[in-house]
């Protein structure tokens, strides 16, 4: 039995080697480049570079926009998830299907389509002018980026929330009602606390991709609005300053870790799926 156990452990060797080579070493290289200058000597300049006005602006803008998008996603998803979990099974699977379907369309194309919709002479504005309403001017503004983020990441908030809410035992809610709780109280004392794990995994799945995106901002924000993701991307693909790019990535990773820690603190139930 003992040798069998050892053999089983050995089965994982390809994966462990893969992990070491393609996850750990690459991360180590980001740290190496981030902490050295072009000549290879140790420096903290690349990390300190985050305080340059252009970089810090990109970071704060990214933090702000992704925070806002996450909030909007929660506000939109919560009622939706509640409606969904109250539906009949047949309609339910149909609605879930409706949510998942768009995710199979290339996300670049979908985001691009918003360009067409939002443009000054785009579809939405044509309709608005036709109805004699004032035109929207949100393309190439931060609002367009928020819209793109909400659009792209909404399903990632709806699905975990829905999974979580639909698992809540009906009897618990009925018991609360029997004990005299009104709808508001049932929501704040029963449903909301029990859906925390769903909110947490939703936040992780929306906030981090939104924080680090460079595609949405590039497509909908025009070339003038730079998020931290755009700055890092340009350091690598255009400026070829890998050291600076890596340094900024380290800063970005620190923010990701902070956001994971914060969400884990709120997830006191210990049911977190992460880490």
């Amino acid at each position: 039995m003992n040798s069998l156990q050892r053999n089983k452990k050995l089965l994982g060797t390809p994966y462990f080697i893969w992990c070491a080579f393609f996850i750990i070493i690459p991360l180590g290289m980001v740290f190496y480049y981030g902490l050295t200058d072009r000549n290879g000597s140790l420096t903290f300049e690349n990390i300190a570079a985050i305080t340059q006005p252009e970089h810090i602006k990109g970071l704060f803008l990214a933090l702000g926009l992704s925070f806002l998008s996450t909030i909007i996603c929660i506000l939109l998803s919560y009622p939706l998830a509640m409606i969904l979990s109250a539906m009949k099974v047949s309609t339910k699977s149909f609605v879930v299907f409706i949510f998942i379907l768009p995710m199979w369309m290339n996300f670049l194309l979908r985001t691009m389509a918003w360009q067409t919709l939002l443009e000054k002479t785009g579809v939405i504005n044509s309709v608005l002018t036709f109805l004699n309403l004032p035109v929207l001017k949100i393309i190439n503004t931060p609002s367009a980026i928020v819209l793109g983020m909400v659009y792209n990441f909404l399903p990632f908030m709806v699905l975990p929330l829905y999974n979580c809410i639909s698992k809540i035992d009906e009897n618990v809610i009925n018991a609360a009602r029997d004990l005299g709780a009104n709808s508001i109280k049932v929501f704040t004392r029963i449903i909301l606390p029990l859906s925390v794990p769903g909110i947490i995994s939703g936040i992780t799945m929306v906030f981090i991709p939104a924080l680090t995106t460079f595609v949405i901002s590039k497509l909908l924000g025009g070339s003038k609005i730079l998020l931290i993701g755009n700055i890092i991307e340009e350091e690598f693909t255009q400026a070829s300053n890998w050291n600076l790019g890596s340094g900024l990535s380290i800063v970005l990773m620190i923010f990701i870790i902070i956001s994971i820690i914060i969400t884990n603190i709120f997830d006191k139930g210990g049911e977190s799926n992460f880490l």
Partner: protein, 255 residues
């Protein structure tokens, strides 16, 4: 509810409408045409990118399903401390920003003198697909009753035979949903491919990205309409069978 559905589908309808647009620019409607659908099949660049995308997604999902499933067997048998360490490392590509994963792999390939191309894209895709496989196989593994496997061994099955006959059927739903997740993640990936592809090699995503700057060719809209309808039909077919749908459907969701 209805409004959100409109919000989700507005861009898709736009794309479908554009694929029938006679005029080449996005801005105006030049009448109905089917010619982009015909030209699509003569456009070598797009067809090549489509082929690359499918090839990479297929190989990456098969390889990552194999490595991931086998790794699960071994992870289950690790001591608790080592196990949580391995799971922690497994979580890195899922939690970390894609852009960081992308550049870290790019730095790796550069320093080890890999030739950028399909190979590097494939290696990166396998890397970020394995965690999804492990996370969907693992819960199945944990629900497994170890005694059935031991019983098989007592009855004279060799370990490998025992795994194939006893364990594999039990964990199959997890393996299948892991495979599907890996496949969709790979097809839809842009960011990591963007950093690890070489010049001249394109997947659909990177092709679209370069075209955005120059103006997207209408053939691309035609292709995405075809893909969308294919997926729609496939999903409708699958929907009639009892499949563990929410799991396969929420790719980013940790199981």
């Amino acid at each position: 509810m209805f409004l959100i559905a409109v919000f989700l589908y507005a861009p898709i309808i736009t794309l479908i409408v554009l694929s029938f647009n006679k005029s080449k620019t996005r801005a105006k409607w030049g009448g109905f045409t089917l010619k982009w659908y015909g030209e699509l099949f003569n456009n070598d660049a797009i067809m090549g990118a489509l082929f690359n995308t499918l090839l990479i997604a297929l190989i990456a999902s098969v390889v990552s399903t194999l490595i991931g499933t086998i790794a699960c067997i071994s992870i289950m048998n690790l001591r608790k401390k080592t196990r949580s360490l391995v799971m922690g490392v497994t979580n890195i590509p899922m939690l970390n920003a894609e852009i960081v994963t992308g550049i870290s792999l790019m730095l790796l390939f550069i320093s080890f003198n890999f030739r950028f191309g399909l190979g590097t894209i494939l290696l990166s895709h396998i890397t970020f697909c394995i965690p999804y496989v492990i996370l969907s196989v693992m819960p199945r593994m944990q629900q497994l009753d170890p005694h059935t496997y031991e019983a098989a061994l007592d009855l004279g099955a060799t370990p490998v035979y025992g795994y194939i006959k006893v364990v594999l059927p039990e964990i199959m739903p997890g393996v299948a949903s892991g495979f599907l997740m890996a496949f969709t993640m790979s097809i839809d990936d842009f960011i990591i491919t963007h950093f690890t592809k070489g010049a001249g090699v394109d997947t659909l995503s990177t092709k679209i990205y370069t075209e955005v700057k120059k103006g997207i060719k209408p053939e691309m809209y035609a292709l995405s309409t075809i893909i969308f309808l294919t997926v729609l039909v496939l999903l409708l077919l699958v929907n009639y069978k009892p499949v563990d749908k929410p799991k396969t459907a929420a790719p980013k969701q940790a199981a």
